[in-house]
Symmetry: C2
Subunit: 217 residues, 2 copies
Amino acid sequence: MSQHSGSEPEVVEERSGPKTERGRRTLRRLLDAAGEEFGARGYHDTAISNITQNAGVGLGTFYVYFKSKEEVFRALVADMGARTRHAMTESTRGAHDRLEAERLGIQAFIEFVRSHKALYRVVMEAQFVAPEAYRAYYRTFAAAYRQQLAQAASRGEISEGQDDEVRVWALMGASSFLGIRYGIWDAETDSGSVAAAASDLMINGLAPRAQKDKAPK
Amino acid sequence: MSQHSGSEPEVVEERSGPKTERGRRTLRRLLDAAGEEFGARGYHDTAISNITQNAGVGLGTFYVYFKSKEEVFRALVADMGARTRHAMTESTRGAHDRLEAERLGIQAFIEFVRSHKALYRVVMEAQFVAPEAYRAYYRTFAAAYRQQLAQAASRGEISEGQDDEVRVWALMGASSFLGIRYGIWDAETDSGSVAAAASDLMINGLAPRAQKDKAPK
DNA sequence: TCGGAACCTGAATGTTGACTCATGTTTCAA
DNA sequence: TTGAAACATGAGTCAACATTCAGGTTCCGA
């Protein structure tokens, strides 16, 4: 999962980056504009000219910084991956144990999607526009998540599952769908209650609770 | 959530369908071809001429049966929705209770995706190509699922959750991701084990098992 | 066996938009 | 001060379709 495997002649070729301050500013403008436009209209309905106009630069300038339309898109996806992981790490930092971290993580994810609707759309569309970037996004995420689970299990905070890869994908899927449902389609519902209900499911499962002491009302 | 709200002048307009056997055969050919092509190359990289060639009909024939490229696509999504729900219903028919149904459902879903890789891709791409069809797909699915959960809860087979809508979306998300991960990206892993591991999570949750009687090995 | 409905066809049209390139302009180290 | 590297530009190129249309062909009931 190292970023630069170095043997493929592809992709890599890192443009060494703008040399001047002016260049760096223009690059950032283009990236921000691309994020906005792709996020709002989708990859195929976005023209390079939309991006350059939004960025306030000439059409040709785009190709000074990117080799193709797809390249910006990929850059955006990679950037979002880093940002998402960062947000997750931050949000669960204060958690007392993994079960609490799960709840905090779900809530943080919904909030994150809400405040990055456009960019999150880009990530999802990557599944079709830049499949390799999409897979990398989730592979990387899954690897980190799996490690969290393994550590928590060894601390006895969660059960030893039958297969952590499966658990991780199920958990990512749950969060992802909740992100769409409550982050994008319906951004009104309180994210705390959603996270509470969801983490209750993820932590205790569907199985009926062992009849504790249901105090008669 | 009724299918035909009846006030929008849109979409509906049901082409009454082919009148002759020849027509019905051509329509089916076009639909099958569209499914194959869209599934293999994606919506935007598929040309109408790809579809008509695959179907073995003239280019113009396409427009005898569909108003536009998007229309076939929508038809395909709707068709897949029906097929998926049908497969799920069938697979869980023999379940003894809802917990068992969950396991069977997850496994059946993975199998279903495996045997309809192309078509399933179409469903996912609908999120960007035909968002309304995509939402309808999941809304319909969620409604049916919610009802299952509510009935199971009233029978005491599962816990009363805090919010069934949330549970349903978390569960759909989990299955969906497992479908991608083990149905499309890796179709080798035994779907039974995946479903077992996943349903263990969905049923019992992450929480450590109450220390029963761990028989010393 | 006739007429019209249903169906079929592919060349032509028109648009769109990614990408190129020849020509500037700006920056900055020497 | 200067020249070359870095950056900026937008008109023009070119290929790729989606959709139309005018003119067939096939089918079938009367």
